[in-house]
Assembly symmetry: C2
Homo-oligomer: 169 residues x 2
DNA sequence: GAATATACGTCAGTGTTGTTGACATTCCAA
DNA sequence: TTGGAATGTCAACAACACTGACGTATATTC
């Protein structure tokens, strides 16, 4: 609330000025800092980093996913992901099961401990997101999502959409 | 367009469900990848990284800013910023002038070459932002900004607002 | 004027995370 | 069955963030 001043200046035809665009760029930068701040704090205590968070998040989202699948979602090299995955497996947060039909594949699951960490992290992140959503209101949230989705690379957009195929939005 | 299906499901009271929040989190993650992809490509060619981009961006935004000021905006350590600044000064993209009233301070400016790089980078980033804005429409952009602003840490929000104090939105 | 604080720069050490290269295993198709 | 492609692992290296300690110049305070 108190948000009576429209952040776009209220002009419907001037919303593509360079200054508007620059402001949007800066908003992304500062907001992303806030977006990662809370999980980062928790992760640092436990000796993990953002890469661990991302892995845990998407394994939780798609239990049984393969390493390769996870790789394409995260957009990093398999070696990079592997380092993270190894520590998570060693620490008993993730379990890796050899595929039944294709024994080359490893299917990834969160253990109970892994689920606990995932919950701790996403609770923190969701709290902030919830507060922002509540402050901005449903229509702003719809716009927020629309712009973000339009900003994605087509390939990433596909993967993003695929995540909610089963789960209804 | 074609965005007739509202990303919030159209329900004004369901925009705070865990699934909605999770979707927002993932949207931030994937969108940020797109957000940085174009500048990253340009930077990689020239042997620079995101840190250089950020420095150049904010020096351009506030010419004559001091090192300390830049430090607090970027939220990094001075050692980290110094490494970046040193290479930018060596390469002739940034100039550093001893302060007149306080000779301890260094005021930072972009040289012509620095301005050229800044333009190249922000043109690329703005193009994507512009496309996303155009696709989503003015109202979505307003919501986008509202949510992002609500997501910032208060301290960062202050700095974000301060950037456009002179320039009218 | 002396002590203290501030602004900036630098050196050394560490950790996370990305990269490439080499390699083992498994699957599949010629 | 053999060779190529796919999957995943191990090792070494680079980029870039961080902390801690220190040096220098300047400003401020007592």
């Amino acid at each position: 609330m108190e948000q009576t001043l429209s952040p776009t200046g209220g002009q419907s035809l001037l919303f593509l000025t360079d200054e508007q665009l620059r402001k949007g760029i800066e908003a992304m930068f500062f907001a992303y800092q806030g977006f990662t701040a809370d999980p980062d704090r928790i992760l640092a205590e436990k000796g993990y980093g953002r890469a661990h968070h991302r892995a845990v998040h998407f394994i939780n989202r798609s239990p049984g996913t393969t390493v390769n699948n996870l790789l394409s979602i995260l957009g990093v090299t398999k070696q990079s992901l592997n380092r993270v995955l190894r520590t998570l497996i060693e620490d008993g947060l993730v379990s890796s099961e050899v595929g039944k039909s294709d024994k080359r594949e490893r299917h990834l699951f969160l253990t109970e401990d892994g689920k606990a960490l995932e919950k701790e992290l996403s609770d923190a992140q969701r709290d902030r997101m919830r507060a922002a959503y509540r402050l901005a209101g449903p229509e702003a949230v719809a716009g927020f999502r629309q712009v973000l989705e339009a900003m994605m690379d087509p390939e990433m957009r596909r993967r993003y959409d695929a995540l909610s195929e089963r789960l209804r939005d």
